[in-house]
């Protein structure tokens, strides 16, 4: 067997092992707009979480505080995660393009963390919630106007099924 083959086998063995960090993201992706995850009419499906509960909250310019609208969406997310304990989530924070790159990375992290803290406060275990910031690297809407910026200043809760079961 060549080296590439051995590496492939090794990688497969690692993937099959009881690796606690291996998670399988569902839907979402960096843009958070994926459409997979089952049938939205099934309340236990990720599609329901994404489309009915709402997987994202929006922020004011240069802010990371949660609006009342955001808080009610996040309450729904917390309720859903309590009812569906086999899921973990990565919360992705984003910024609009009106800012310098590294500042926006830090701002996106603030936003993602605000969501995480809210969900923890509402009963979700912290070890089910990871955060990441994409700053202004992955805009959802690409026009250079407030109508787009408002959609890009977001935190998206991307579900993952925990392979460790």
């Amino acid at each position: 067997m060549n080296i590439a083959g051995k590496l492939a086998v090794a990688a497969a063995l690692i993937a099959l092992g009881a690796c606690s960090n291996v998670t399988n993201p569902i839907g979402g992706g960096a843009g958070g707009a994926g459409g997979i995850g089952g049938d939205a009419s099934n309340p236990t499906s990720p599609a329901y979480f994404q489309q009915v509960v709402g997987d994202r909250v929006l922020f004011e310019v240069d802010q990371s505080s949660l609006t009342s609208t955001a808080q009610s969406i996040l309450q729904g997310q917390a309720d859903w995660m309590i009812a569906n304990p086999s899921y973990t989530a990565i919360i992705q924070g984003h910024a609009d393009e009106q800012g310098t790159r590294e500042y926006n990375l830090a701002l996106g992290a603030r936003r993602a963390n605000a969501v995480r803290e809210f969900l923890i406060e509402r009963g979700i275990a912290g070890n089910r919630l990871q955060v990441v910031s994409f700053g202004k690297e992955r805009p959802l809407e690409i026009c250079s106007a407030e109508s787009c910026y408002a959609q890009n200043r977001r935190a998206v809760t991307v579900l993952a099924s925990d392979l460790t079961g």
Binding site: G31, D62, S64, I90, E97, Q98, G99, T100, R101, E102, Y103, L105, A106, L107, A109, R110, A112, N113, A114, R116, E117, Q130, V131, V132, S133, F134, E137, R138, P139, L140, E141, I142, C143, S144
Partner: protein, 439 residues
Amino acid sequence: MRLVFACCVLALTALTAPLAMAQSGPLRIEITEGVIEPLPVAVPDFIPLNAQATQYGARIAQVVVADLVNSGLFREVPQSAYISQVTDFNTPLQYADWRAINAQAVITGAVGLSGGRLTVQFRLHDAVSGQVMAGLQFRSTQEGWRRMAHKVADAVYAQLTGEGGYFDSRVVFVSETGPKGDRRKRLAIMDYDGENVQYLTGSDDIVLAPRFSPNGDRVLYTSYETGFPRVYLLDVTTASRRPLEQADGTMSFAPRFAPDGRTVVFSLTRAGNTDLYRMNVSGSGLERLTSSPSIETAPSFSPDGRQIVFESDRSGSQQLYVMNADGSDVRRISFGQGRYGTPVWSPRGDLIAFTKQNRGRFHIGVMRTDGSEERLLTASFLDEGPTWSPNGRVIMFTRETQGANGRAALYSVDITGRNLRPVRTPDGASDAAWSPLQK
């Protein structure tokens, strides 16, 4: 991966030919005030010393002219205007013929090629006083011909301005392709003038904001290789890379080398809060420099390594601060209207370049290190990320156009705000970092 110039050895020796040194102030460019009237320079094709070298005579002259014109301090006297032709390197110039076409400086040169080694020599003539001001000889491998042309231009620039040159330098940057909503980014390196582009990473993962080590042999940057932003160290010659140490559940970004080349300062985000830390390149000795609930990022060392300028929103909006390298004695230096970010200390130590946002516009600007004498050099929908030329006279930065088809490109401008120029890159480009002068 092997970079072409990795093994390039350049020898620099003074020409033995007698040089009549310039008398009291014949040719001199004062660049501090901003040059309004560029100096006319003629660069005849370099004389090939043997048949193999023929292909380089015109090419080297063209690169020398392009460098000088690119600086904004010179304009080319076109070869079509020449009255007398230069056919032998050692035959004295007919200075009257060059004065007649208003050439104030004339650069003559010769190039030889033997055993794969190029030898380039040149003389800088002051046509007005009829004197040779400087002459040098360089040697390198055949592939290094562009670098030798840049070295000729650097020597001319240094002779006429009294400042170091910046043409024999490289730029590491982020090459961008794909639509705005799904940009593909990869690290690339090129000569300062956009030639010899080479890619250092693939485009599978987002990469951001590379920075050179003090001698240009390594690059620090941020990559999403693991799905989370994390600082990597890359060897420019081999393109091999490794992540710096990082605790689980944190993000790290905005890495910069200290002038000693062994210490890294960077932003670490823990529980949503971003502060500045320092550690050894080896991964040991992690030390926290700021402890504030605000965002601290975009650090940059003073050239002596004693101070760090950075941005923080501790006052409620992004502003610039300077602190000692150990984190003590923090003082705010930006007080104008708007937000200030991405400060970069000049290699000369005298100025700090920054990005300013004010009333919906972005600017690149410079200020003294105490925040005085702020000067904005550019204005557009989105300018950001300044980086200094090795001599501290030119700033390269990212300009992004607006809208759904918005695209990032690199530009350069001199510190007087003159000579704004696009830098040629094959695709979109952002986050440039200028190398020191090559050895």
